[in-house]
């Protein structure tokens, strides 16, 4: 495989990490997060500063990126997770912008808007792929657990969930923290893949790109998250030959999906042996919605 395709695959894995967290948080728990880039930035800068300035080993730096990002989610989440849906989404938006501006202005630590160059490129395909696969398995386990069911119950009807004894605030904190850890890890890997970071990489455009992947793939499907990360990360790269038109194609594709299939490509269908069997045994398309 050429270096070019390996590079795309690494980006797919990195995006998938951030998309899995969002899928758990926005798709399964119903908490809209328009500030995922903020957590990527926290992870990217934490890991980069540790490896470039303090010669911390890569693995330890990534762990630190996850922990810092999770701590940030607690600090942001504590006052905002009690807000109703839309207000929380706006708070995440504000958070990401605040992180970006902080990074731009704390020039001594972060290099300001010029960013940090010459980061050792330690992220390779095995590392990125392992991280994405492990994350996928953990998140898939979680959504099928009693905790995962409680999260979906909160999405479906928060008052009813509370009335059967689900502590919705606690569960929101948990999925926000899991999401932040995955995004922090993605940020750390991204910085050490590209070899250079600057604040503009973590703008609202990045947050939007990630949330679009979740919606495109299907809000209630991890299979959809994987597919969307794969398709929407590689597509703009593979269409590079089409120059300016590639972003038009990308945008048109997303609009098309939203018009034709608003629940996202996969809806809530998951790729499991039982579901695949059901597809072939009874070819009832209605089963797909299951």
């Amino acid at each position: 495989m050429s270096q070019y395709y390996i590079g795309i695959l690494i980006l797919v894995c990195i995006n998938l990490l951030a998309v899995l967290g969002l899928s758990l948080m926005t798709g399964f728990t119903g908490l809209f997060n328009f500030g995922q880039a903020g957590f990527l930035a926290v992870g990217a800068y934490t890991a980069t500063i540790l490896t470039t300035r303090y010669s911390v080993p890569f693995a330890a730096a990534l762990l630190a990126a996850m922990v810092t990002s999770a701590l940030t989610s607690f600090i942001i989440g504590y006052p905002t997770l009690r807000l109703k849906g839309d207000y929380f989404a706006i708070a995440t938006l504000g958070f990401a912008e605040a992180v970006r501006l902080l990074v731009e202005n704390l020039e001594k630590i972060t290099g300001g808007s010029r960013g940090i160059p010459r980061i050792p490129t330690l992220t390779n395909l095995p590392v990125a792929l392992a991280a994405a696969v492990v994350a996928l398995i953990l998140v898939a386990n979680y959504v099928r657990s009693r905790h995962g069911r409680s999260c979906v119950a909160i999405r479906e009807d928060e008052l009813a969930a509370e009335s059967i004894g689900v502590n919705s605030f606690r569960y929101k904190q948990i999925v926000f923290a899991i999401n932040a850890m995955l995004a922090g890890l993605a940020g750390g890997l991204l910085a050490h893949y590209i070899g250079f970071i600057q604040p503009s990489m973590f703008s609202i455009i990045k947050s939007t790109e990630l949330i679009v992947m979740v919606i495109f793939g299907g809000m209630h499907s991890l299979t959809g998250a994987v597919f969307a990360a794969l398709a929407l990360t590689s597509l703009p790269e593979l269409l590079r030959a089409a120059q300016a038109w590639r972003l038009v194609v990308y945008g048109a594709l997303v609009v098309l999906i939203m018009v034709v299939r608003p629940e996202g490509l996969m809806g809530s269908w998951e790729l499991t042996p039982a579901n695949v069997k059901a597809l072939f045994v009874k070819s009832r398309p209605a089963q797909e919605e299951g």
Partner: protein, 255 residues
């Protein structure tokens, strides 16, 4: 000692007094009802007991402990379960998962075990599924276990919501207009069903209802409220004969 005791409960919404110094006692094992015209404050009383609203004044005791102002999910842990006037199922869940989710307290595996399954998780999940199945059999919904709850007929949705409440093994069950929107057939079935669970689950039940036949047929004791205040209390016969009640409620309803 009464299971539920409400003392001088008052709730103001801005300038409107929805519940006005409401006092009430509910004995263990009772099957009682609260009735009253629309907007009398019945549902507000349920919302105050289940911690959805904080009372302006007054106290609520459950099993002798004060529960005034307790958060909703902790109320459930204390043994009070409820249904809602406008059915609130987890509509994207299967029938089974609606009940299974409400059983969550009977598993103790941690969030970490949610991420990385352990033998304990597998054991407890199996027990949860069995518990949910048993309950579905009891309420006669097991043949629809894998259907999406939003696809159930209306009467079945009501029954599923009650099953979800029962899954918490409550001591007290609050039913908010369980017969609302039901046809006469469904209503009769529902009455049998409520009597059946009252007996077989050792429950204390308090229900709000508009269907007079349901209230008169089921409840041992009825409290009538209007403008958040108790205007009468007694057996179905006493309440039916009470001129104050007829004036405030039955008279207007019967035309």
């Amino acid at each position: 000692m009464p299971l539920l005791e409400i003392q001088h409960l008052t709730k103001d919404f801005g300038g409107v007094r929805a519940v006005d110094k409401f006092s009430y006692q509910l004995g263990v094992g009772a099957l009682n009802a609260i009735i009253g015209p629309n907007g009398a404050g019945k549902t507000t009383i349920f919302n105050l007991v289940t911690g959805i609203y904080d009372p302006t004044e007054g106290h609520i005791f459950f099993g002798g402990d004060e529960i005034t102002g307790t958060i909703t999910h902790q109320i459930s842990a204390k043994g009070i379960a409820r249904t809602f006037q406008n059915i609130r199922l987890f509509s994207d869940f299967s029938v089974l998962d609606n009940v299974r989710t409400a059983c969550h307290r009977y598993a103790s595996y941690t969030v970490w075990e949610g991420l990385i399954p352990t033998p304990r998780r597998r054991r407890e999940e199996k027990a949860l599924a069995e518990r949910a199945w048993r309950l579905l059999e009891l309420v006669d919904l097991s043949d629809r276990a894998h259907e999406m709850s939003k696809n159930l007929p209306y009467g079945h949705q009501r029954r599923l919501e009650i099953a979800r409440a029962l899954a918490q093994e409550p001591k007290l069950l609050l039913l908010d207009e369980p017969a609302a929107g039901m046809n006469p057939d469904e209503t009769v079935q529902l009455m049998d069903f409520i009597e059946q669970i009252h007996d077989s689950f050792d429950l204390t039940i308090l229900l709000i209802e508009h269907h007079m036949e349901v209230v008169m047929g089921l409840a041992d004791d009825i409290v009538v409220i209007d403008f958040g205040r108790t205007i009468a209390q007694g057996t179905p016969e006493e309440v039916q004969a009470n001129p104050v009640v007829i004036e405030a409620y039955l008279g207007a309803e019967e035309e």
